[in-house]
């Protein structure tokens, strides 16, 4: 145990470990805040879909030899998020079908482009690290961490500011619209925030595992808590703690960061599931 702590304090002296912790915790916080809304709106897989879109965008950026691929990826992902969420609950193509179409479509196109046009020598490794996040969170530089902090603050502030509106729109879109809430505008804001989070989170867990970050904390919280506010708070706390634990374990044990965080999230979900079943839920 002491050996582990010593090893930990040694690692914490390295800036890259501290950067990883800061970025990881912030991304986990942001994704869990919106996770509750997304799960309840039946858009659990939007993270998956959009991250595949981001993967496709990354492939395009790679082919164009862009050094700063972030703006392009962000814009393409935002456009797709808006297309999926714009229609809300009254879409012609159901939400899940639209997500599935975009998801597999852009994954296929992305890989096709990578494979056909990439100048890198090791295409398979590139693709693999984009999909699973590999260890790229441990290679973050200071500017990237600052960007991450700024975006997280913006996302969290937007969430707090629109909390009541998001609740109304999520619970009953028709009622909200009938009583004069601009549901389209809030769906748009939601879409943009999600796109930002997805692009941020790709660094952390890679595009295949982002959904886990979005849905697990929300699902865990919903097992035990029974009001929207307590579910949201619990999900944020769970997500942050899991990310923290996941990154530390990954650093100590040398496991891949993304999948370790998701594994911790799964264990916590199991615990909450058991607690929820035993107690029948807590009334808060």
């Amino acid at each position: 145990m002491t050996a582990m702590l010593e090893k930990l304090s040694l690692y914490l002296d390295y800036p890259f470990v501290r950067y990883a912790l800061i970025a990881g915790v912030l991304i986990a916080l942001c994704s869990s805040l919106l996770g509750v809304t997304l799960v309840l709106k039946r858009f659990s897989l939007i993270g998956d879909g959009l991250s595949h879109v981001a993967f496709g965008a990354m492939a395009i950026a790679a082919i164009l030899n862009l050094t700063h691929d972030m703006p392009l990826i962000l814009i393409i992902t935002m456009v797709c998020a808006v297309l999926i969420l714009r229609n809300g609950q009254n879409a012609k193509i159901n939400g899940d079908a639209a997500v599935a179409m975009l998801s597999v479509g852009s994954l296929a196109i992305g890989y096709l482009l990578f494979n056909r046009f990439s100048q890198a020598s090791n295409v398979a490794a590139d693709v693999c690290s984009t999909l699973f996040g590999s260890t790229s969170i441990l290679t973050l530089q200071k500017p990237e961490v600052i960007l991450c902090v700024v975006l997280s603050v913006v996302v969290t502030a937007a969430f707090l500011l629109f909390y009541n509106k998001l609740f109304s729109v999520t619970f009953d879109e028709s009622f909200a619209q009938a009583t004069g809430i601009h549901t389209k505008a809030y769906n748009l804001i939601l879409a943009i925030i999600i796109a930002v989070i997805i692009v941020l989170a790709m660094n952390l867990v890679g595009s295949l595992l982002i959904s886990a970050l979005v849905i697990f904390p929300a699902l865990s919280a919903m097992r035990v808590f029974k009001s929207f506010r307590s579910v949201t708070i619990c999900s944020a706390v769970v997500s942050v703690l899991c990310a923290l634990a996941g990154i530390l374990i990954a650093v100590l044990a040398g496991t891949p960061v993304g999948s370790t965080i998701v594994a911790v999230d799964m264990v916590v979900f199991l615990l909450f599931y058991i607690v929820g079943t035993l107690t029948g839920g807590v009334r808060v």
Binding site: N164, K165, S168, S174, F175, A176, Q177, A178, G281
Partner: protein, 248 residues
């Protein structure tokens, strides 16, 4: 082709006037040439076969979808956002983690505009509506754990937070047992008679409709609109009632 909002109706002062209204989805007409008006204090029941366009009419009045032709005029000082709505439950709501308080308070959201948080008056209003519908004890409970009748009362309280003027209800008693239905009807009657809330209700339950309503709109062919007394005297009304209405 437009929904005129905030303008006064031509002729007498009605809250809601529909003129030569045609309804449908994507150009496919399901109902045409609809004329009717609702005055303050009315209790209008909308009856008709399944698929005749009752819910579409309600969505059009609420401004959730545009009419194919004709106008919905909202008048007499009523704003389009002052129409409360008691929708049919959606799948999303079945396992939604929200307390009764959060849901009722969300009825005030329309009053907030761009303001992010609720004012004290709005919280007090929500508290009064909880009390009025006998939900004060359930305030902290989870919506999904309530009985069907309690859930409807929560949604009714929410609608009353949005407005005390007009409430549109889409089959409020569907899925409720007879005792609970009777209790809910009684509350709605109380709102209409004591508090002067104008009620527009879609109903499959023709017996209850003719008991409480002041006006009936029968959608189908032919369309009937008039007072309950006229409806009961008409061949259409007699025929429909003898069949016992349409069971959902």
């Amino acid at each position: 082709m437009s929904v005129k909002r905030g303008k006064k109706a031509i002729g007498r002062m009605a809250l809601i006037t529909c003129e030569n209204l045609s309804l449908g989805y994507e150009g496919r007409e399901i109902l045409s040439g609809l004329h009717f008006s609702v005055n303050a204090g009315d209790y209008l029941c909308i009856v008709g076969e399944n698929g005749s366009g009752k819910s579409t009419l309600m969505r059009t009045i609420l401004g959730l979808q545009p009419p194919l032709r004709g106008d919905v005029n909202i008048g007499d000082g009523l704003r389009s956002t002052e129409i409360g709505y008691l929708p049919q439950q959606t799948v999303v709501q079945k396992d939604f983690p929200a307390s009764v308080w959060e849901i009722v308070l969300s009825g005030c959201q329309g009053k907030c505009g761009a303001r992010p948080f609720y004012r004290r008056e709005e919280k007090e209003l929500a508290q009064r509506m909880l009390h009025r519908l006998g939900l004060s004890d359930q305030k902290r409970r989870c919506y999904r754990e309530l009985s069907g009748g309690q859930q409807q009362r929560v949604l009714l309280a929410r609608a009353l937070c949005a407005t005390g003027k007009v409430i549109l209800m889409d089959e409020p008693v569907s899925g409720l047992d007879p005792m609970v239905s009777a209790e809910l009807y009684q509350r709605i009657r109380g709102l209409n008679q004591k508090d002067g809330v104008t009620v527009i209700m879609i109903s499959h339950d023709i017996a209850a409709a003719v008991k409480d309503a002041s006006h009936i709109l029968h959608i189908g062919s032919p369309v009937f609109f008039g007072t309950k007394e006229d409806y009961l005297a008409s061949p259409l009304g007699q025929n429909y009632i003898s069949e016992g209405g349409v069971r959902p």
